[in-house]
Amino acid sequence: MLVLKSIQNLKARSVLAVVMLVFLQACTAPAPKAINDPHEASNRRTHEANRKVDTALIRPAAGAYGSVLPAPVRQGVGNFASNLNLPGVIVNNLLQLNIDGAVKNSWRFVINTTIGLGGVFDPSSSIELYEDSSDFGETLHVWGVGEGEYVELPFIGPSTQRDTVGMVVDVFTNPLTFGAPSPEKFMGPVAKGLSKLGDRYTYSSTVDAILYDSADSYAQARLLYLQSRRFQLGQEQTNEDQGDDGYDDYYAD
């Protein structure tokens, strides 16, 4: 997250350009085509750099983090980070007029912050009160903004123009990080960073399979990101994309 901050400063100008671009495109937001990646060559260079950062830094750090801290502690850090992130999610639920989600998440926040001792524990999930997760990228989607071009961001990985803007805006949507006084406001980002490290450790075999075992990790990461993001946003994929019509055709002869 600290890295993210410095990138955000560096990239503030280009991000602004992206913001304007996305909003201009918003007027005619098309349904997402299979893959819109006109800057594939430069994205691939970023991907290679990200892979090197993972090999040299993130993967070993996650390994150390995972072997030093036992699973329940890592789970606690993850819980704490996502609980701190919740107020921002609620803001986005509201911006999307998703009242049901906002109410659920508010209850979750109250229960986990009190009974869950500041969010370290997650009693809400044991009563099946799960997070209705959201972000400003989704808010933009609900407002009619198309996903734009696919981008691979330095240090962060797969995204789209719309989701990149969303990520930047989300620095400000969470009152707990943005509005808090100086030492406390870093708590969220630090917890988030550690939580991400924990995820990298927990899902290491899956992440490794994509980054290092796949014949073209760039193409795999791009496809996985776009599919899961569109699914998350409830965008129906065409039958052709799902290999559905193909099945009947396959046996037609």
Binding site: Y203, S205, A209, A219, Q220, S228, D241, G243, D244
Partner: protein, 205 residues
């Protein structure tokens, strides 16, 4: 007179009936749409088989052999292989296609078998199923430790004469699309040499 009309009527009935039978029969046996219950129960069987393998606690290599059997028994492996090969399949000979399908089935068993380890201690429950065109979509919810539940959806069809699943989505990520991309990349790496790909598939995954 009444008798004649009655006969006529009955003849017409017979003719109509016969026509209807003729019209229905092509749909009746092979394409009588798979019911949503059949789809669900098929996925239940798949899930039970996977859980059984995971619970067996066998060494990984043995588990992967068992996963391969599950793919063979419950999924349309030939279709999965053919979809993954995509347009490249058109220039493949029949024997290349067969060899590819055979190695592909080991490849997905290894690749996905390794990932199924994440399911240890978790469960997959069938939530709903619906008919979409000629297939049944069965939605299951995966409950894994320390994670919010997520969607795993299967596409099930009896087009082959057997009830089989032919695609699986984990949180919207399609197995078919993922593998078509991956196999395409593997083929590109080998400069389009299908035989080299088939050979390397034996160890891949």
């Amino acid at each position: 007179m009444t008798i004649i009309t009655q006969i006529k009527l009955s003849r017409r009935n017979v003719l109509l009936g016969g026509g209807a039978t003729l019209a229905i029969s092509p749909f009746a046996s092979p394409a009588l749409a798979l019911s949503t219950d059949q789809g669900s129960s098929h996925v239940d069987k798949v899930v039970a088989a996977i859980n059984k393998v995971i619970a067996s606690g066998k060494p990984e290599a043995r588990m992967i052999k068992d996963f391969e059997k599950i793919f063979l028994k419950y999924s349309d492996v030939n279709y999965l292989a053919s979809y993954a090969l995509g347009v490249e399949g058109r220039r493949a000979t029949a024997s290349q296609k067969r060899a590819f399908a055979k190695n592909f089935q080991g490849y997905i068993a290894r690749k996905y078998g390794k990932q199924f380890r994440a399911f240890i201690g978790g469960k997959l429950l069938v939530k709903s199923s619906k008919t979409v065109k000629n297939h049944v979509e069965v939605k299951t919810i995966a409950h894994l430790k320390g994670q919010a539940p997520f969607d795993v959806t299967f596409f099930v069809s009896d087009k082959t004469g057997k009830v089989l699943f032919y695609n699986m989505f984990i949180e919207g990520i399609s197995l078919l699309l993922t593998e078509r991309t991956e196999i395409g990349s593997m083929l590109d790496r080998r400069k389009g040499n299908l035989d080299a790909l088939i050979k390397d598939m034996k160890a891949a995954g």
